[in-house]
Amino acid sequence: MAEISLVEAITQALAHEMRADADVVLLGEDIGKDGGVFRATQGLIDEFGPERVRDTPLAESMIAGVAIGMATQGLKPVAEFQFMGFIYPALDQIINHAARLRNRTRGRLTCPVVFRAPYGCGIRAPEHHSESTEAMFAHTPGLRVVIPSSPARAYGLLLASIRNPDPVVFLEPSRLYRWAKQDVPDNGKALPLDVCFTLRTGADVTLVTWGAMVKETMAAADALAKEGIQAEVIDVATIKPLDIATILASVEKTGRCVIIHEAPRTCGVGADISAQIAEQGLMFLKAPVQRVTGYDTIVPYARLERYYLPSENQIIEAVNNVMEFA
């Protein structure tokens, strides 16, 4: 079987679910003939037609609001935002409506929408194409936030998200879209939401991350292993609701934790994980939890953007720091 990239796994999951469930419809800018600017919907209009693969006018609030309306009628819309930086006009619809329709109607109306967007920096795209503001969605009650970091998880988690009866913000690390390929059987098997994935086990330190930073984190773990430090690497995957139990169990074992994310440091999701460890895991911590994150600055234009991103070296350094505590 041919190996596929993360973006191809997205396409495969969409196609699978559209075949399996006539209620699944896609909408977004340029998702039709163009197949999306990253080609995530490539070929789908040919198979499913323009009624189910709907190119929209250029208006993000509209995309979200229309998806919400569709969802209440039993459709399962998967709405694409071209880049996460263009999702902001839709925040009102997502926060004030999608996230609370079930609650405010006491379950009478529901909103099974998936809001997809490529996210993160590092692909030398123009300004506003590099956002990673998952924390905003993670702060919003009623939402789920899911971020895959491999082709297999992209496939399995997207299927799970489409089948989920509540709104899901599904963020795809554009830096990983065409990075590592994997064998991903098109078997329609969803992966579980709301749980972390332990990508590597180790007894010395817990590295908690998600999205594209899984790449640098795994590389750092490899490098550390050569120095004799065994890192456990956890891909959070579902950012909200957070599977803190898995993280705590790992930190209980290792006594040390470094959290790595691409978003700006202040009020990033890493802060919440760190706070929860401090509240519930202080007794087994051998060193302060550290965060290796994006800076509290706007992602620089392409020439300097790599300086914004946490590097493998920074992760190694942070691990060395926490290892120094007795």
């Binding site: 509209m62 609001g65 009102d92 619809q93 009478r108 109306l109 009623g142 709301d194 139990a245």
Partner: protein, 359 residues
């Protein structure tokens, strides 16, 4: 220089402010019983309205937005809707919803601060009120898309105020309806005010109806104090929607004969005397005078109706007041289909919470 496009905006009225019929009445309006039904509903709305305001004044209800002056808009729409259509209301629209199966007590629950007010007793398909002004036309467009995808012959009716027409979402919804040819009717209930901002300060457009031109479909002005015109134009627009997937924008003109809500004090900004001047156009008296002129209504009918309405409203108030509160932990029970484990602890926590009575 060539002219490449031309447009015009019509205005519809059947019964003018002196209760004179100025155009051939549509068929339904030739049936006095039908008109009586509409009349009864308008009166019920007005009676309920006064009661709700009284409840709010005595601390038994939260902030409440009155329908006074707009009764014909809500009644005309409710009467025009088919059971299978779907209605996406804004916060003044209970008068439409009670024709759809919602109960008056639902609205007391809602404005009394209880989510169960959105359950709409015998109406399980319509949307709850939209509070974020102007956001709901997009939902209507989405619902209409679903109907069209499924080839169902159903229309969506969505309402908003004149103020809402300044919101980007309003326009995005119109634009989509125009390009996707969606079975949706957009009603703007133009009551001349958005809280303190008069219609004349909301947009430079001469009519709100002409905003449809931006989206490539037709817009009309309708006299919103004439329930016959409202009923007729909404019904006709819904029919075009159901049969031809053709969207329409209806600007329905009336006047807000009240404060914006009970939290507002219009005397701060409403020019003196205007409300009184506008009152002569008011929809209930207008229809009553017409019904009387065709011997279809009498003072006895009126007294009986008022008594009936009073009873209906009192019963709704009793239902509201007798309804036991929701369990406290219900604040978690509709957040997701299944509450994720990590919130279970919070749900336990809130059960134990004692809360001071004072604000």
């Amino acid at each position: 220089m060539n002219i490449v496009a031309r447009f015009e905006i019509p205005y519809y009225q059947y019964l003018n402010e002196t209760s004179t019929v100025i155009d051939t009445l549509p068929e339904f309006a030739q049936d006095p019983q039908h008109l009586q039904r509409l009349y009864r509903l308008m009166v019920l709305i007005r009676v309920f309205d006064s009661k709700a305001i009284a409840l709010q004044r005595t601390g038994k209800l939260g902030t409440y937005p009155s329908s006074r002056g707009q009764e014909a808009v809500f009644v005309g729409m409710g009467d025009a809707l088919a059971k299978t259509d779907l209605f996406v209301p804004y916060y003044r629209d209970f008068g439409t919803l009670i024709q759809r199966g919602a109960k008056l007590s639902d609205f007391l629950m809602y404005w009394g601060g209880d989510e169960r007010g959105n359950s709409y007793s015998d109406d399980k398909t319509d949307f709850p009120f939209s509070v974020p002004v102007g956001s709901q036309p997009l939902h209507a467009a989405g619902i209409a898309s679903a109907f069209k995808i499924r080839k169902e012959k159903r229309a969506v009716l969505v309402t908003c105020g004149d103020g809402a027409t300044s919101q980007g979402d309003f326009y995005e919804a119109l634009n989509l309806a125009g390009i996707w040819q969606l079975p949706v009717v957009f009603v703007v209930s133009n009551n001349q005010w958005a809280i303190s901002v008069p219609r004349s300060a909301q947009t430079g457009a001469k009519t709100i109806a002409q905003k449809a031109i931006a989206a490539g479909f037709s817009g009309e002005q309708v006299d919103g104090n004439d329930v016959i015109a409202v009923r007729e134009r909404v019904a006709s627009a819904l029919k075009k929607a159901r049969e031809n997937n053709e969207p329409t924008l209806l600007e329905i003109l009336s006047y807000r004969q009240s404060d914006h809500t009970t939290a507002d004090d219009a005397s701060r900004y409403e020019p003196k005397g205007v409300r009184e001047t506008e009152w002569v156009k008011e929809p209930i008296g207008r229809l009553r005078r017409y019904l009387e002129s065709i011997q279809a209504w009498s003072e006895t009918d009126e007294q009986k109706l008022l008594a009936e309405c009073g009873e209906t409203v009192d019963q709704a108030v009793a239902e509201y007041q007798n309804c036991p509160p929701q369990p406290i932990e219900s604040i978690f029970d509709y957040l997701y289909e299944t509450l994720p484990d990590i919130y279970a602890e919070q749900r336990e926590d809130v059960k134990k919470k004692e809360v001071p009575v004072h604000g």
